[in-house]
Symmetry: C3
Subunit: 340 residues, 3 copies
Amino acid sequence: MSFTIAEIAQHINGKIVGDPNYIICGVGTLSSATSTQLSFLSNNKYKKFLSESKAGVIIVGEGLANSVNTNAIEVANPYVAYAKAATFICVDEKQLAKIHHTAWIDDSASIGANVSIGPNVSIAENVTIANNVRIAAGTVIEHDVSIAESSDVRANVTICYGSKIGAHVLIHPGVVIGADGFGIANDNGRWIKVPQLGSVVISDYVEIGANTTIDRGAIDDTFIAEGVKLDNQIQIAHNVKIGKHTVIAGCVGIAGSTTIGENCAVGGGSGVAGHLDIADGVQLMGMSMVTKSIRTSGVYSSGIPSEPSHTWQRNIARYRQLDKLFDRVKALEVTEKPQS
Amino acid sequence: MSFTIAEIAQHINGKIVGDPNYIICGVGTLSSATSTQLSFLSNNKYKKFLSESKAGVIIVGEGLANSVNTNAIEVANPYVAYAKAATFICVDEKQLAKIHHTAWIDDSASIGANVSIGPNVSIAENVTIANNVRIAAGTVIEHDVSIAESSDVRANVTICYGSKIGAHVLIHPGVVIGADGFGIANDNGRWIKVPQLGSVVISDYVEIGANTTIDRGAIDDTFIAEGVKLDNQIQIAHNVKIGKHTVIAGCVGIAGSTTIGENCAVGGGSGVAGHLDIADGVQLMGMSMVTKSIRTSGVYSSGIPSEPSHTWQRNIARYRQLDKLFDRVKALEVTEKPQS
Amino acid sequence: MSFTIAEIAQHINGKIVGDPNYIICGVGTLSSATSTQLSFLSNNKYKKFLSESKAGVIIVGEGLANSVNTNAIEVANPYVAYAKAATFICVDEKQLAKIHHTAWIDDSASIGANVSIGPNVSIAENVTIANNVRIAAGTVIEHDVSIAESSDVRANVTICYGSKIGAHVLIHPGVVIGADGFGIANDNGRWIKVPQLGSVVISDYVEIGANTTIDRGAIDDTFIAEGVKLDNQIQIAHNVKIGKHTVIAGCVGIAGSTTIGENCAVGGGSGVAGHLDIADGVQLMGMSMVTKSIRTSGVYSSGIPSEPSHTWQRNIARYRQLDKLFDRVKALEVTEKPQS
């Protein structure tokens, strides 16, 4: 689609420095954009590319238009403005609603208006699908699931029985929602199954990345609050609760019954043990290992970053001798004292 | 379903303190259970909720009934008893066996009695499915797979050719069993494929969590012994062997040809390198990094738990100066000696 | 299939020590192979099994045939030779090309010659599938995807719209290619979606393990170069670029916009932060935590391997006292100096 810079600036509430009638029909990075594309600068690391960019217009922070050799739109938050502009220019929300003839939909299911259902989908007994929902090919919706309006369930997803999905939720391929939690009890050396009788509640505006898994609760429900964004390959165990507007990067595992607060950010590869409470506003850096509750907002880290293997081996050896080193220092201090 | 406390107590071999004719028709946690629900206390952390619970009956350890303000059932192991009671009260095993008309089953496949096969399932050549097996929607069973009686394969699972699945096995959505192991050989700078000619054998009473992957063997088979319980998002590489009644929590990776003993417990996020032997009865705490065989049962850990980022940075800096610190202490000791 | 040792030796360019007319019809490990099977020795750890092996022929390194009590084939690289011999003996590439009647293929899709398409596959608008491609059951190919010749897409895979798959690519079950990258912008406390407008390009001879995910680019494409081999459960974020002939083991996460060089090897469970550059020829040991670019080829490690939990706790306590220990040593040094 094509838009004038004036139309785009109005959409993102920005100030034009340049030609408002210039036509834009796509987006690009500062270094790849062509003269009909919009670009943006939000990370100062890339400021060096600003003057050389061949983009038709560049979204920049306030006061930066004079560093741009093409048209500019100044805004308070260039990344947010770019997100809105790119959606405006490039995303065509109007798709033909269509129920594919190879989909199987049980007669007891309730399907809203303007719903799209892809090939080889299966929708079981007593499912409720609200208006404007899309369900892509190969996805399985088990019995008694409800999906609220305008949610978008991509291909090969599994939503297990009884799960409740909010509105404007986006679920990527391969996601599994509502599989049994890992509940086992040791009965004289054999593990017996603890039935997983709770469900999963996904609130509005949640996004769930590819191949992420969210288990159903043991008794009560697993709960994901409004606006939570989950990346790929995440494991959310039974009875976890995640607060509003928290974001979790890829490959994270959250063990059972742990509560993560609101507005948290969990770095990729982190692991949070079970039955913990993480306060609102906690930021965990990548690969954090969390074994205790965190009661105060702030930034937390763990792990020792990689180094050349020969120094790594030496440092580990030293680490393992620490206890003896403390003894040696103690001995020196003891020897020292009588002298003073 | 509804049961008297007497019926439940008989099923779990417990001692009733209260009204044996009281009717129960569900389960709840100590804090959420209503007067028609059963609850339990197995973790003393929750003992404070005991007296306030509105549950109709509470399963407790021996001698604890007098702390309960409602009916109680005393047992030796409350968590095991709860698992059995909840299964008794809440799980209806009787499902209508049905082969869905959208499933594709090759003519050469052998399908037992009372088998359920869901929508859009595909079952290829020479597959053998025993009595009372259930296969849910979207699942793919490749040629020459066998599945023994009463196993339950949930939605969108892939079981690759030749895999052997035991009886009473439960496989959650998104699981992949029998994909090629990661076998490559470097032929003058290019990696060529080493054909993966073994298979996967899953023994009886194994449970496999959502999106877990178990690769086929390179020559011999990958083997999961009886009663093993695997959580979600686990990677089991080719030719791994896992001993009886071992449990593995989510997000664990076990590299190729490693053997894990019987009755082990592997914490979430752990990684075990290839070609190792882990003894029976080993417990690995969460996020363990195992690079050598473990010959003795016991509890093992690794990693340094998260801390505020400013102390984390300082501690890492100190860690990297350890070698020099050892030199400094050595120098002090040398200076010290002549004085004594 | 059956072959003489002479035929096999010719295929792998090896030197026969023994009977060239001996018949072989399978492969086995040194300890499991029977008299009609071929085996090999590439890891000296297994040399002790050489003399006792009952294999019909053993592939060994140059000069080792005299340690073998059966027929031998000497080669420069036994593992590469085994890979080629096992493929020659055991892999029958000739499969009947067949388009299954339950597959749905949009009329606008272009399907080459000798293509196999399995049950319940869906192939959307404007897809291009080249000659000799196989697509297994339950796989979803979204619109505008192209797959070049002789590629093999296994069951329950999702290839999202616009992805470009090269020739001779092997994609294992449960893989998701081209899901949205994790692009979000914080708009006054709420996260809004940054549209993911790039695509994914997978070059020739790439292998992708089960349940691995590769996200589409935000603006430019995510790129996997020729000959890259990825194991299971890997997460490749948006705009990552992976150089030729790099191999990545299971459970690795590579964050957004990071570039991995050519001929690298990334150990299982490693995590690489975003916006980094990893040089050609870098080897990361298992569970590496990479937070900075690596400019020089070589071997890198991180993490402290597991140990018995009681020494682990003691070592961590000491680690956390390091800052004070440095102060104590400093104090000793200061006391020392005036004395000298």
